[in-house]
């Protein structure tokens, strides 16, 4: 029996074993697609047809098929070739076998999924974003009840009252005091500023002083103050003139 002439009928290849090896070595056939187990089976079935065990053929086949397996394994894990090279041959073989088995299981799992998908192909259901209401988070971190109460007491104290006094400032018009002082001066020739406006709020006193300055500017009155903080005395201008005239004539 000549191993190289072994006729193969695989999914990926049909023809003699020799041609398969040639195509693989020329990179014209991807070893990943070649079912090595099917080659082994074909060989064993051909072997079984004969009465005697062909030891030479078996030996040759073993060499070829193990080389093919190693090539396939290295092709499957190219980046691990270096890593495997560091292992002892036996350990490397075991590692390769383990990975091949894992890959095989995943291929089978993929086949199972594909079959399942075909069975379940007539499933129609609603898909879309799930506009779920946000969950109400009711859990709080564990706390010491005393500390919690203290925090609440702290928060429960009413805040200091904010003064709104400045909102109430109302400036009376200067004209109001102009009229008032003119009326006073019609009745009397002189008056004391403090005696006239001492009872009023400070804001109004300030406006009253502006009114005095205005009267002074227009020459209707004269203002006297003997010393700082002494009473301010206001006199009608014509009275002042009369007085000075009297003094001079005297």
């Amino acid at each position: 029996m000549i191993v190289r002439e072994l006729e193969l009928d695989l999914d990926a290849f049909e023809g003699p074993f020799d041609l398969l090896l040639t195509l693989v070595l020329k990179d014209e056939l991807d070893l990943r697609d070649v079912d090595v187990a099917a080659i082994v089976l074909s060989f064993i079935e051909r072997l079984a047809e004969r009465d005697e065990l062909d030891l030479d053929a078996c030996g040759e086949f073993l060499v070829l098929i193990s080389a093919l397996l190693e090539l396939k394994a290295r092709g499957l894990f190219p980046e691990e070739a270096a890593e495997l090279a560091e292992l002892e041959p036996e350990a490397a073989a075991e590692e390769l076998a383990r990975r091949l088995a894992e890959y095989r299981r995943m291929k089978e799992a993929a086949a199972w999924l594909r079959e399942r998908l075909a069975q379940e192909g007539d499933r129609f259901f609603r898909v879309g974003p799930a506009p779920l209401a946000p969950k109400v988070e009711q859990q709080i971190a564990p706390q010491d009840p005393e500390r919690l109460a203290a925090a609440l007491r702290f928060l429960a104290v009413p805040p200091p009252e904010v003064s709104l006094a400045h909102m109430a400032l109302r400036f009376p018009p200067v004209a109001q005091f102009l009229e008032r002082f003119r009326a006073v001066l019609r009745r009397r020739t002189r008056f004391d500023f403090d005696a006239e406006v001492g009872e009023l709020p400070r804001i109004e006193q300030a406006v009253a002083l502006l009114a005095l300055l205005e009267l002074r500017r227009s020459g209707e009155i004269t203002i006297e103050q003997a010393a700082p903080f002494a009473p301010i005395r206001i006199s009608r201008t014509d009275v002042e003139r009369e007085d000075s005239w009297t003094l001079r004539s005297a």
Binding site: R105, K107, L117, V127
Partner: protein, 200 residues
């Protein structure tokens, strides 16, 4: 005035069953019994019982809408007999034309996830980038954090949509990997057959 539609006449769970129907009609993703109990403001055990009533009413052959336990919760879907009509009106972008590479990648993520692209490449022997991108786009897998601290590779896991598309109650319904060795058994059987023929 019309009497309200009754699932089973005079069942004390009628009202709750109607509330559950309403919640499931509004939902766009499966709702667990706990979700339903919380929303309905009712006892989880009563919700389970009421789900039995709803399931009885909405089952294949009886209704165009079918209640199913899928992806860790309860959801309505179209009955299978209406599938052809649904297919004329609606696309199924998630599952159309999934490549072999994407299917293998999906299997790896489903069984070993959360796992990274390098994990997938290590098993498949080739880069998983395009397969992962395609599955992400279809919504069958999603990111699930990073390996170790920041800067680690992104991990992926399958989504609720994956479980719904494949009609799985949960990932635990996937067959055990050991059970998938059927063709290994076939090979062994053929070897035994050859051996028996030789000894005969």
């Amino acid at each position: 005035m019309d009497a309200p539609l009754r699932l089973i006449a005079s069942n004390p769970l009628d009202q709750l069953a109607r509330t559950i129907e309403a919640l499931l009609v509004v939902a766009s993703a499966p709702l667990s019994a706990a979700d339903l109990a919380e929303a309905a403001g009712d006892d989880p055990e009563r919700v389970e019982a009421a789900l039995g009533l709803v399931g009885e009413r909405y089952r294949e052959g009886r209704s165009g809408v079918v209640l199913e336990n899928v992806a860790g919760g309860w959801a309505f879907r179209a009955s299978r007999e209406a599938a052809e009509a649904c297919a004329r009106l609606f696309e199924k972008p998630a599952q159309r034309g999934v490549s072999q590479a994407a299917m293998e990648t999906l299997a790896i993520v489903a069984y070993l996830g959360p796992c990274t692209r390098p994990d997938i490449a290590r098993i498949r022997g080739v880069s998983a980038d395009s397969a992962v991108a395609s599955l992400l786009e279809r919504g069958l897998i999603a990111e699930a954090g990073r390996e170790d601290a920041a800067g680690g590779a992104i991990r992926y896991k399958t989504t609720t949509l994956f479980e719904r598309v494949f009609g799985l109650e949960s990932l635990s319904q996937l067959p055990r990997l050991d059970d998938l060795g059927a063709d290994v058994e076939q090979i062994r059987d053929r070897l035994h057959a050859v051996a028996e023929k030789r000894t005969a």
